[in-house]
Amino acid sequence: MKTEPLVLGIETSCDETGVGIVRGHTLLADAVASSVDEHARFGGVVPEVASRAHLEAMVPTVQRALDTAGVTLADVDAIAVTAGPGLAGALLVGVAAAKAYALAADKPLYGVNHLAAHVAVDTLEHGPLPEPAIALLVSGGHSSLLRVDDLAGEVEPLGSTIDDAAGEAFDKVARLLGLPFPGGPPIDREARAGDPAAISFPRGLTGPRDLERHRFDFSFSGLKTAVARWVEARQRAGEPVPVADVAASFQEAVCDVLAAKAVDACRTHGVETLVIGGGVAANSRLRAVAEERAAKYGITVRVPRPKLCTDNGAMVAALGSHLVAADARPSALDLPADSAMPLTVVTV
């Protein structure tokens, strides 16, 4: 058993070609090639454009990571790759590449779950994760609450969005306000100059009846519509739209619900550690609200730095390293890319 395994991780589930190299809990390299600019004019990620970009970026990004870490493929103990969930064609490029690296260099291969990797990446910043932990994963593609009993084995989904992902709501509201894609960073920026209490936007699935059936689920579609109606009413009345106030009030509604449900999950399960991951975890207000609420109940909030929150190869390498150290069984060479990989599966 290796205590400080050297692992190369590949992530291609969406529009970032990420290659990370990790030794134990130490990050050695985190190379990312993004095709986000090619998607911006469509207001969302175009799968075929992303897949083409992954193919072009794979070899140079792996090389960049190896050079940065100062290691060769012969040095690594294992290759890890996101096997799902994600865009099928995009995942397939990463999985095929990982198999080739594993086969050519005679290394074990670990096909891992993208969401579990979002949790594992925190170990690079804060060391081993206390288990059990509750994880809140929020991005353009996912909004989930998980209970993590064993990062090398068991993850229990507690709830997820029943409509839009949180990051999607940021993108759509940004578009409405004439802000660029992706919408998270510009809304965060605008909101700093606005009043979060200026407009009272709805908090989805927080009413007493919703809490019975959807206690740990999220809904952002109603919020998105409410923001659109509010902005349209202003425009119809010929009044200027207070962008900063709308951004701040919208962001507050999202962060309020996310933090409230995450803290509720910790309390209900008697768990003292909350990990927040995914692109939306980079939102400054979400960190602040979650820390404030959690502190009241003695819950520790762990949020990796923003660059590790978005999709990257380091998170896959981090989970791979954890799996190697835990003596997990490697994946077979006929490992499929699974666009709908269930949350309960950490590795296949």
């Binding site: 175009v46 075929e48 992954h54 193919l55 070899v59 095929a96 260099a105 060479l333």
Partner: protein, 220 residues
Amino acid sequence: MLVVVVDSATPAVTAAVAALRPDGVEIVAQQVSVDARAHGELLAPGIQSVLAAAGVKPGELAAIVAGLGPGPFTGLRVGLVTAAAFGQSLDIPTYGVCSLDALGWGQPGTVLAATDARRKELYWALYADGERIAGPSVDRPDEVAARATAAGAQRAAGEGAEKYPLGLPAAGPRYPEPAALAALAAERVRGRAPSEPLTPLYLRRPDATLPGQQRKSVLQ
């Protein structure tokens, strides 16, 4: 010189170990699995098993030869990223071959090579005594048939020619064969030509369809 040959431009997922000798190409081991939906699952195990069957270790390889398509994008990329990553891992050159050229290779006379491009279209090229004289292109079967007839094609190779009536007798292989792919790259391998980027022959622009959206048109 030993090379690994891969092609994933058609439903055939092809892996082989070829020995390039001064006097010709010998296929030492090959595995061809026909499954249009499982390129990602089948290719790496295919390479593993041909290496084992040939008794060849990856470190003994001199180069990787890959079919560049044209072909359905998702499967095609599996072959090319596999070949590129293999070449990078082993620090050996990679060489690309137009997959249709492998169908037209070594055939006397004027021959059409055609493979299924889905959406009721064909990827095609024309060959005169094995040399490409038109294509690669993607067109409707009736347009392909007209071009082939005008060029005086006598036969058609490739599974595309079986799927649509093109008015030409079928001849030659259904799928790109490893021996042909290896032969088409042999000069470059033997001459230690510079490694080539494996750029797919897409021939179509990507659909700008967002996930969850309905495809607006089957046209590009």
